[in-house]
């Protein structure tokens, strides 16, 4: 057996692939579901917090900053394990799917809040003044004038962060979420062959590459020349 044969046998084993592809596809579906939920909820949550912070009511802003700093500082895996194994002992049981969603959603929310807040503060003061001078209120100015500009400004870091966090759905494996990686490692241990992991890697590429391309498209779509 040549080295190449051995390589193919190990990483691209046809019969193993055929056998475990269906379960990996199930994992793909779980990963997609989780990713969409995390991105939508995390981004909206972060945007909401950034908007609340814009009112500059200091105790509220202070709490938001504490939250954002904690969730940006602690590795998500630590929080996932803490919540999944800790909460049942105080009588709260969440599914592994729910724990992964909540922790990663909150993590993305923390980053999104900081990123969108940076966009809000970077928006020219003249925009506020122009809008307020026409009689728009604070909330209207924030919603119709400042936030649309802030979000466009921060689309590149926001999408990068969203991709980075959704890739962390693979962490769900450690608490038994049946995502791509979990299905693949299960298949790998049953078959004693690494091909399911190859397939998992491929699935991640197929899944996230369009996301990366979409983020490039969004960047150009929402970019406007500075006048």
């Amino acid at each position: 057996m040549t080295n190449l044969d051995r390589f193919i046998e190990t990483f691209l084993n046809g019969s193993v692939l055929a056998k475990y592809t269906p379960s990996i596809l199930q994992g793909v579906w779980v990963t997609i579901e989780l990713s969409v939920l995390i991105v939508v909820a995390g981004t909206l949550w972060g945007a909401l917090l950034a908007c609340i912070r814009a009112y500059r009511i200091w105790p509220v802003s202070f709490l938001i900053v504490i939250y954002a700093d904690i969730f940006r500082a602690v590795p998500p895996l630590v929080l996932i394990l803490l919540v999944f194994f800790g909460l049942p002992s105080v009588g709260i049981t969440l599914s592994s799917f729910a724990v992964l969603f909540v922790i990663l959603g909150l993590t993305l929310g923390a980053f999104a809040e900081e990123i969108i807040w940076a966009g809000i503060t970077a928006t020219d003061k003249g925009q506020w003044e122009a809008a307020r001078s026409t009689g728009l209120g604070f909330t209207q100015t924030l919603g119709y004038v400042v936030l649309p500009q802030a979000v466009r400004m921060v689309i590149p870091p926001l999408t990068n962060r969203a991709i980075a966090i959704t890739k962390m759905t693979a962490l769900g494996t450690v608490i038994g979420v049946p995502d791509i990686l979990n299905q693949a490692t299960t298949a790998q241990s049953f078959s004693g062959n690494a091909s399911p992991l190859t397939l998992a890697a491929l699935a991640y590429v197929v899944l996230f590459l369009p996301f990366v391309i979409l983020s490039r498209w969004l960047e150009s779509r929402f970019a406007w020349k500075k006048g």
């Binding site: 119709y144 649309p148 006048g227």
Partner: protein
């Protein structure tokens, strides 16, 4: 609609242009003893000023003399420390004033245009019409087109600010303000950020607004335009009004030493 009773034309000798300052008529905008400090620096030291209906008043003064601050106090973008602002006789300073309601009656045009970059020209004009005046989309669009036509840019309604020249951007900004049909318009150096060849278009629009009877308070260094179009010129120095009068008097025969020094520098 209320009937306006025109008084016999008794004119203030100092304000004999355009018949705008009939004695007894209530000024459209009145600034009374306005004071403003930033920290310990007193930027406005009791400024008083009146702008009559349909009058165009020019404010001149060196950089840092407090012109912008005075203008920004008029719609309370800057909060004065004391003194009053009256709009059509109604006090708009102090507590309990609905700022958003009063600001829609005071148009403001900025040196840096401050158009909304994410909205096209029409969207820039309609935003306040829809969200402040609560007009329907059709009504707001119609009014925006009217306003853009007045500034000569009806054909640019679908252009974004980045697709407009500086002069065009400033005219859209003027359209945004006049669409709300304000009682008075404040201009803070509307042409200072423009290339010289674009200044004329903006001044042309301001001239037409004046002909249509708009009340305007203008901070600008366009001396030739002030001479030609202003009813009155006010000279400020160190947070005070040093001298005021019709342009031919203020430019032709300035009474105050600081006015003379300023004009000498600017007419070079």
């Amino acid at each position: 609609m209320s009937l306006t009773i025109t008084r016999p034309a008794v004119r203030n000798p100092g304000q004999d242009r355009g018949g705008a300052a009939a004695i007894g008529a209530r000024p459209t905008l009145e600034v009374v003893g306005l004071k403003k400090s930033f920290g310990t620096v007193e930027v406005l030291k009791s400024v008083s000023l009146q702008v009559a209906k349909s009058e165009m008043v020019f404010v001149l003064g060196r950089s840092g003399s407090g012109k912008s601050t005075m203008l920004r106090c008029c719609n309370r973008l800057e909060e004065p420390n004391s003194g009053d602002i009256l709009l059509e006789g109604e006090k708009i300073t102090g507590r309990g004033v609905n700022l958003d309601r009063l600001r829609r009656r005071i148009g403001m045009v900025f040196q840096s245009f401050n158009l909304y970059p994410h909205l096209d020209a029409r969207g820039n004009v309609t935003l306040a019409l829809r969200k402040v005046l609560k007009l329907s989309r059709d009504e707001a669009d119609a009014r925006a087109i009217t306003a853009l036509t007045r500034v000569g840019l009806a054909d640019k309604a679908a252009n974004y600010p980045s697709q407009l020249s500086g002069g065009q951007q400033q005219r859209v900004a003027i359209a945004r303000a006049i669409a709300l049909e304000p009682a008075v318009m404040l201009f803070d150096e509307p042409t200072s950020a423009l290339d010289p060849e674009l200044v004329g278009d903006v001044l042309g629009v301001m001239r037409e607004l004046k002909q249509d009877g708009m009340t305007m308070l203008v901070v600008s260094h366009e001396m030739a335009f002030a001479r030609e179009a202003a009813d009155r010129v006010v000279f400020m120095a160190d947070g005070e009004i040093v001298e005021e009068g019709p342009p031919e008097e203020l430019f032709g025969n300035p009474q105050h030493e600081r006015t003379r020094a300023f004009l000498a520098r600017y007419s070079q």
